[in-house]
Every structure is written in C-alpha cells, then in structure tokens.
C-alpha cells in the first residue's frame, strides 16, 4: 500500500495538471506520468501483463501518437483562457462535483471484504492464465477486436489520405513559377537568406540584417517565429563594445575588409 499512497497523490496532481496546463505538450507529459504510475499500480494488483501492456501500448504507442499529431498540428497550439460557451465551465465543475458526490455516496454504501487476491488464478503464471481465458471464454471478443483494429487502421488511412487534385509540380514548373512571381511582385528569385549567424552566438534564431539595418524575417524559421523565441540582432548589439573591451582589442578592430561580417552594419544582406 505504500506504493499506492506514494503514487496516488502524484497521479491526482498530474491529472489535475492536465486540466490546468495551457500547452498540449505539457498535458501529454502529465498524462504519461499518470499512465506510468498506473502501470505500477497494476503490478501491485497482481496484473503484470497489463502493467507491461500499459507501458508498451499506452505510454509507448498511443501517447507517442499523440505527440506526433501534436507535432503535425503545431506544438504552439494552446487554448485561450477565455471560455466561449456561456456557463460551460461552471456547469462542467458542477457536473464534476455531482459525479464525484455520487461516487462518494455510492462507495460509502459498499463495504468490501478482504481482497481474495489472485494467487490462485495466477498459479500457472499471469500470462498463461490470461491466455487461457482469452482463447477460451473470450475468444469471440478477442477475434472481434482484430476486426476492430483492422477497421481502425483502414479508417485512419482513408481519413489521413489526401487525394492529389493537381499534378505534382516539376522542377521546371517551380522555376517558371518563381520567375513569374519575380515578374509579378518582385519576389526574390534566389534562396532565402541565411539567419544572422554571429560569431559570439550560434544564432539561427537571430534574423539576418538587411543592408539598411532592418531584420529580414525571411531568414528565420517560421516555427521559431511562432514560438516567439526570435532574437533581435540590433538589441544584442549593445554589448559588443564591452566584449571587445574584454578581449582587449581596439574598437572596430575587426572592421577590415577580410573580416567576416560580425556586426550589424555588415550582416549578410541577402
């Protein structure tokens, strides 16, 4: 029971966390905690097979699937705090409390005898015992699950499959399209600019500077921009002089022609 009393508060807290964290990834990680704790509890309840299935299937497969989808949908997708449906949150809490109250009342009426324990049924080992049951008494349900799984797999493929509505663009077509865009709107023909990689900092998150000193947004990954972790090169320029002083160099020593572009003035223009 020690295990239970250690894990139970953890699980409740993690579950409550799912309710309150704003980012889906955090929720997924909290759910992983619950599931793994659950696996341990299964072990204490003489269900070693389920415990490992819990770890492998739930935590390993299903939760990973969640994370994959989160990755596709966008890690940054988070709920806004404002509730859109009037009274939904209040009613949900009331319903939850009601449900909880009913459970409490219901369980209060029940007195369980001392647990029988599974030492008897588990005598040939948990897995052989389960297998005996599964392939005799529950064989029909078991076979039906196979049909269910196949259906689910096919369904998922059908849903996720996207029919190509137009022919795949070839290199020639893409090139022609770029030329056309350039002719139409003056969009830059060449590759996107590299980010502003400064010597002092491995900075893919820092946009490159255009010749006029403004930041080029096209030089930073969209994902970083969405996460809001893009730095600003001019904002960091303030401590350049201090660093130079620390290094004992004369100010603007690197400003010769051969030096790499390390300052905002000479940041790669394109």
């Amino acid at each position: 029971m020690t295990t239970f009393w250690i894990l139970a508060p953890v699980m409740v807290l993690a579950a409550l966390g799912i309710l309150f964290v704003r980012k889906a990834v955090h929720a997924a990680l909290l759910l992983a905690i619950v599931m793994l704790s659950l696996a341990v509890l299964y072990l204490t309840l003489d269900a070693p097979f389920l415990a490992f299935v819990q770890v492998i299937v739930y935590t390993g497969a299903i939760l990973m699937l969640f994370l994959f989808v989160l990755m596709l949908v966008g890690v940054d997708a988070s709920d806004s705090v404002v509730e859109t449906i009037t009274g939904q949150r209040f009613m949900a809490v009331v319903a939850g409390l009601l449900l909880g109250a009913i459970f409490v009342i219901g369980l209060g009426q029940v007195t369980l005898a001392t647990a029988t324990g599974l030492s008897g049924p588990n005598a040939p080992g948990n897995i052989p015992a389960l297998a005996n049951l599964l392939f005799s008494k529950y064989v029909f349900a078991f076979e039906v699950t196979s049909a269910l799984l196949i259906t689910a797999a096919v369904g998922a493929m059908v849903l996720a499959h996207r029919e190509r509505l137009e022919p795949k663009a070839t290199q020639a077509m893409l090139a022609a399209q770029r030329m056309q865009d350039y002719a139409d709107s003056g969009k830059h023909l060449g590759p996107l600019p590299t980010p502003g990689v400064f010597a002092r900092h491995n900075a893919v998150d820092t946009p490159a500077l255009l010749p006029d000193g403004t930041a080029s947004e096209a030089s930073v990954s969209r994902v970083l921009a969405a996460r809001g972790t893009v730095r600003s090169a001019p904002a960091m320029a303030g401590d350049i002089a201090g660093i130079e002083k620390q290094l004992g160099q004369a100010p603007h020593a690197g400003r010769d022609r051969s030096a790499p572009a390390t300052t905002e003035e000479e940041a790669p223009a394109t």
Binding site: I18, A24, V69, A95, G100, L118, A160
Partner: protein, 97 residues
C-alpha cells in the same frame, strides 16, 4: 481495495471535467484516455478483489478499443486541422441550427 476504486473515481471525474472544459481537441482526447484508464484501474482492482482474471481481460479489451479509437480520432483531428487550420473543438461547430 476501496482506495483503488476511490482513486479510479477521482481520475474519472477529473477526466470528465477535462473533456468538458478543454478546447484543444488533442487535450480533450487525452482526457478521454484518462477516463478510460480510470476504468481500467477499477477493473483491475475488482479483479484482484474477486480473485479471478475476468476484470483483467476486460481491461485488456478496453486498451485495444482505446488504441483503435485513438487512431481514428487522431486521424479525424488531423483532417479537420488540415481544412480549418485549427485544433479547437469549438471551431468545428458549423453543424447546427
């Protein structure tokens, strides 16, 4: 053994409230999984209480169903996201009066 059942009830209730309050479809889904897991816990606990393995078999089947459900559900979420660039369940609310 009552403790396990109480824990299961608490988790179930939390999952239910989560389904009702969270708007990110994926998180809603996670809450559904939480409810299923709470059920599983109860099943396994009762199996132990009664001294037979039927509860464990039931929990196993729940897991299978949950797996199938997650596969299809996530595919649906993906499809919806592709067309409306949103994973909020409130945005998919055109089917109404």
């Amino acid at each position: 053994m009552t403790d396990y059942v109480v824990l299961s009830s608490i988790l179930f209730t939390i999952g239910a409230v989560g389904v009702l309050t969270r708007r990110n479809a994926i998180v809603v889904f996670m809450c559904v999984e939480l409810m299923l897991n709470a059920c599983n816990l109860a099943l396994v606990a009762f199996a132990n209480q009664n001294g037979n393995l039927d509860g464990q078999i039931a929990a196993f089947l729940v897991m299978v169903v949950a797996a199938a459900e997650v596969v299809v559900g996530l595919a649906i979420i993906m499809t919806i996201f592709r067309t409306r660039r949103s994973a909020s369940v409130d945005d998919a609310s055109l089917l109404k009066y």
